[in-house]
Subunit: 393 residues, 2 copies
């Protein structure tokens, strides 16, 4: 087990009545002027924004609305938010939505404390550790951004998707009412389930030996999410399934599942450049296609771990199989599960142009300036191999 | 799943070099005068207290030492600490030790903010929500008090052991170096392992249905602790086993394993009055004796849960067994495991006087003023039955 620091101060208020806690949470946070950040009109039409406004009025604070966050959130909208915060003296950002809205809020929270343009962070020109405080009302179980200190944002002009993290970005509170996710579409439910699993799988495929306890937590989370994902996909108003997905989304990405070991974020990084170049690719769907290809490319470097994955996560016995066969059965099971949730099997399904794969690999490796991976290190050529495997050649 | 609030702000610094973080943690906490609270002379002789003092000097704060905490910590020593804090203007308490030291520190932290005697809290005459801030350097993996908001304290004059909890008692930080537990005796290692398991079992035996995710986390923690406990018992300097026990002690009692459901603390409450009356009973050893008796007394009220316990925690298949037989096998496995760690099998082994069991049950039920249990409710008569079963009649 590697040395670690664990510090997750986010207060989670979970359950059917959790939105009623918003006024007191805002007061506890000492906010005076709140930017309410959200996505499309559905949050308005459903009455959720009205409920949020009523709570803010009860808390006696000023508020300003900024909607319009789309999946794969853009730095252009965040820049608008930054200007608005500076102009209006906003001192707290409330994200009402899923991971895209929370990440956009985090980008604004960083930018509001900077003189220069916020994109400088994602080009690694500055590394700020200050941000406005953030809270969230979660409406999609997927990204786990609600308890995490990181964000992912896209630059539409450059066709890039980049991440950044600092403890200051960990939200002060998160309100989680599973009922708010009843209206999440089948497709988004599936994408969210994949995202939760991938946050856990990528911590699970570690080069660090002897962290059985963390393995056990990861495997338990995954088995529960696999069951709950199928149930919520078939029956969107199953409270227990929605609750499991919601709570698991937070725990899958708040660091708990990675304590004491290195992770391998290659699948996420490979996906970021896929959806950075192809805006029609949902993050979860992209992961569902990249992950099996990544597994097949790297599994020979730690076959025992892939066998444990097959056995403990997917319940596949290795009896009568070679290690290679056993490991492959686990990957097949993961892919079959994703397909059972309506996820595509290959990049062709997204209309990806195979001639653009080298460009994708170049972007992902920052033009050869970085490698990826913890379980096994990938260079630009490896990345291209994985994209080609994922393409379905 | 029941509604819940999850808020665990304790910062854990974990690993071989974690003590080096103490100076900066003390500075972050804004302390100016620290009460260093500890147990016997072993912490002094081992050089640990000197290392702590060096860190406090590096942090530039005043400090005062108060040692002498014994297992089943006493309110009498805590009262001394309270007087000392008030007299010296202490504003931070650093517990260097295990659960007994941390709980004694929590008692002092509460008392230092009160006018009246601190025991009033445990007689439920006052319910304070204020306390001095606490940090800890953990030296025994057992109680999990290092991330929890509760404490247990004994009143030597009255022969009572009582608990109290408030979020203000959750420590600000905890330093966890598994190497500091290498010198923990076999007996204490066994008692600690039992305590960690029991914190989880008592959350696991819930009357709340459909919390599969929390079940999975509990079962995974228990399987890891069962393995690690045996390894550390045989080889006290096995780093990975000690690390698993230490991290699991924190997670078993910080609320994570009980999210979304009621727990059943009957075994802990029954043990408190056992060790309250018999000072030779170590808390973990008392639990090891009470738990199987509790199981056998209540299992008929939720036989399916005891079958799951047998299967998932102890790996016992139910094939060819009745539910009753399957459940009993799980309890036998738990008891056999405890015995394999040198724990006693019955109350006789502690020299308990069987004629005093009715008095014990009366104390435990506050003279009939309270019932115990979540899975099944116990009155005074039920408590006596369980004590008699545990006695080994």
């Amino acid at each position: 087990m590697l040395d670690f620091t664990y510090h997750i101060p986010t207060k989670v208020v979970f359950g059917r009545n959790s939105l009623n806690a918003l006024a007191s949470l805002i007061r506890e946070a000492g906010a005076t002027h709140v930017l309410v950040h959200f996505g499309g009109q559905s949050a308005v039409k459903s009455g959720l924004i009205d409920k949020v406004k009523a709570q803010l009025e009860e808390a006696g604070v000023r508020y300003t609305l900024l909607g319009g966050v789309a999946p794969n959130p853009k730095v252009s909208l965040a820049r608008e938010g930054v200007a608005l915060c500076k102009r209006e003296g906003v001192d707290f950002i409330l994200a009402v939505g899923g991971g895209s809205v929370i990440d956009s809020a985090k980008c604004i929270a960083l930018g509001a404390k900077m003189e220069e343009d916020v994109w400088n962070i994602f080009e690694r020109k500055v590394r700020p550790s200050e941000a406005l405080p953030i809270g969230s009302v979660l409406t999609i179980a997927a990204a786990g951004s609600e308890m995490a200190g990181g964000l992912v944002i896209s630059n539409d002009e450059l066709g890039l998707k980049r991440d950044y993290g600092t403890p200051a970005l960990r939200p002060v509170f998160c309100i989680e009412n599973p009922e708010l996710t009843y209206t999440v579409s089948k497709w988004q439910t599936a994408c969210g389930t994949v995202d939760i699993l991938m946050h856990t799988f990528e911590r699970y495929f570690t080069p660090t030996e002897d962290v059985d306890f963390t393995d056990e937590l990861c495997e338990g989370l995954c088995r529960s999410v696999i069951k709950a994902g199928s149930i919520a996909y078939e029956n969107p108003t199953d409270y227990e399934a929605r609750a499991t997905l919601m709570w698991a989304s937070s725990l899958s990405q708040n660091d708990l599942m990675g304590m004491g070991r290195r992770a391998d974020w290659a699948t996420h990084q490979l996906e970021h450049d896929l959806s950075g170049m192809y805006d029609n690719v949902s993050h979860g769907a992209g992961l569902a296609v990249i992950f099996p290809a990544w597994c097949r490319y790297v599994m020979k470097h730690n076959i025992a771990r892939f066998c444990r994955f097959a056995e403990k996560v997917w319940g596949i016995s290795g009896e009568g199989l070679t290690q290679q066969q056993h490991a492959e059965k686990g990957v097949e099971a993961a892919q079959a599960y994703f397909v059972s949730l309506g996820m595509p099997k290959d990049l062709k399904a997204f209309g990806v142009d195979p001639d653009r794969l080298p460009e994708m690999a170049e972007k992902c490796s920052f033009n050869g300036q970085r490698t990826l991976g913890g379980l096994h290190t990938l260079n630009t050529e490896d990345m291209l191999h994985i994209y080609r495997l994922a393409y379905g050649d």
